[in-house]
Symmetry: C2
Subunit: 311 residues, 2 copies
């Protein structure tokens, strides 16, 4: 191997050792050389980039920042963004110890059990266009799951929760820095519960959350493969959005949503409004028709799907 690569034996041995400490299982025998037995299911850049055909996102290894443990991938990526990291930079971590969902809620992110990934975008748009990016991310995750696990029924609850059998399998947290009329950057954080067993959830969380493993007949899902597919889908949708505007994103979101046509309660800081979710506006707002027939547009809010027993 040393002769083939034109490097010293010591140099090969050092590289092998580094790989082994990263979880690769490599057998060495004195005459025959080395044999790779196990590639660890870690989200190392080298294991992801090979399957990417992206134009903007993670277009080289240096744009993928992998960590074994972070407080939060969004926080790490915002720090990189403040230091002028380029659009398309990714942070992935095996574990988040301070993972966050919307409005500062805790997001359980144990090591190796999920995809904890943040994406940096710098679209030349005003901050008013941000909600469309959240829809884009939700639609891209839904599509990726369909590609990998076509038999699962994944649905999007407005704006960006992904549910399987009424339980949450993915959450998205978009954060931004902007001027009033000009985005500096968007950081889109995506958390997918991939290989959680029941015991990996708290009992309260298990009532409302699930994982791909649990829904997939208790079979592990490759985080590496899902990450590559997801990055490809995100890249495709983002490119479409920049060239054609939000129409195709809105269409894709609608196709996979489980909110429209349903009776809902939307809780905002001002009210709790009950009605039927009738449509998604082009700016990403949810149009809800109240009992009196009045239609309201919601830019923000917490949606609860109301069971429509008998109606």
């Amino acid at each position: 191997m040393a002769a083939f690569l034109a490097v010293s034996r010591t140099s090969v041995w050092k590289s092998i050792q580094a790989l082994q400490s990263d979880g690769y299982v490599i057998e060495g025998s004195p005459r025959l050389g080395y044999r790779l037995l196990i590639i660890p299911d870690h989200l190392y850049p080298a294991e992801i980039t090979g399957n990417l055909h992206t134009k903007r996102i993670a277009i080289n290894r240096e744009m993928i920042h992998h960590y074994h443990q972070v407080e939060s991938t969004n926080t790490t990526l915002k720090n990189l963004a403040d230091k002028d990291a380029p659009e398309g930079t990714i942070v992935v971590a095996e574990e988040q110890i301070g993972g966050r969902g919307r409005q500062g809620r805790f997001w359980l992110s144990p090591p190796g059990k999920g995809i904890w990934l943040s994406l940096l975008l710098r679209p030349p748009l005003p901050p008013q266009d941000t909600p469309v990016f959240t829809l884009l991310a939700a639609a891209a995750v839904a599509k990726s799951l369909k590609i990998i696990l076509p038999e699962l029924a994944v649905g999007i609850k407005w704006p960006n929760d992904l549910l399987i059998n009424k339980r949450k399998v993915c959450g998205i947290l978009t954060e931004l820095k902007a001027e009033a009329e000009f985005l500096h950057y968007l950081v889109i954080g995506i958390g997918i519960n991939v290989n959680f067993r029941e015991k990996d959830f708290t009992p309260e969380l298990r009532k409302i959350a699930t994982s791909l493993y649990l829904e997939n007949g208790r079979k592990n899902v490759s985080r590496q493969r899902l990450t590559s597919v997801l990055l490809n889908e995100l890249d495709k949708s983002y490119t479409e959005l920049l060239s054609d505007g939000p129409r195709s994103i809105i269409g894709q979101w609608k196709k996979d949503n489980i909110t429209l046509g349903k009776k809902v309660v939307v809780k905002t800081v001002r009210e709790a409004f009950e009605g039927k979710a009738v449509d998604l506006n082009e700016d990403g707002s949810l149009i809800v028709e109240g009992k009196n027939g009045i239609r309201k547009h919601f830019h923000a809010g917490e949606v609860t799907l109301v069971p429509m027993n008998g109606g």
Copy 2:
């Protein structure tokens, strides 16, 4: 004086020295004590708070951070906001050495010549509501100038430039940190050219900018008084906005605007659109009617007022 305040002579002397080094001119005579001759026109908290009757903004001295020199009051205040400074916190500086306008443009901010002020708000609203705050700030500055200098004709160019005789006298830079649906904070930076002489501008800048001094028959304007009046107006408008929504802000903005009814070119990242500015939407967007009668809503853009010679 030492007997009256029940402190030592040395303590009085030290305080007097501190005031003198802050620019207060104080005469001391061995028998009679001290006499205050000149209060410097610096924006010290003590010189501002006395005239405030605010409910949310700068409600105590600790909420006013005064600096002789900063890079940019917005940058300083964003750092304070990241460390959980409360809503209503203010940063004022005598001089900015890296003052910024929209999209990173330089903003000339020489010592003592202007009001360089940033205000921290934490409204419980989605980031989509940000543009209204920029309009609010522009309308509050316009109203404050009318109170102090009623004879000047101040007009607002959409969204937030204040002009006198077609030259810019004030600019506003609103920056924000947010989730897609939830504002963490807004920092509204206000720069007013108060006592600039001609020579304080560069020749290029003088063509498009002016100062209150130059427009006010070459009489100095008290920065302290203008700052107090401005903070009172900002507080009143913000309180109204929180209780009644954007309607009154929009009305106030319209009253002082010089954009509606005019022929304009709006430059965005995508296009340069020519038409007549026909109205301001409730979300702060400018409605422009093109030659073909089609109306476009602009959330962002650079407006040029087109002279309507003969038309």
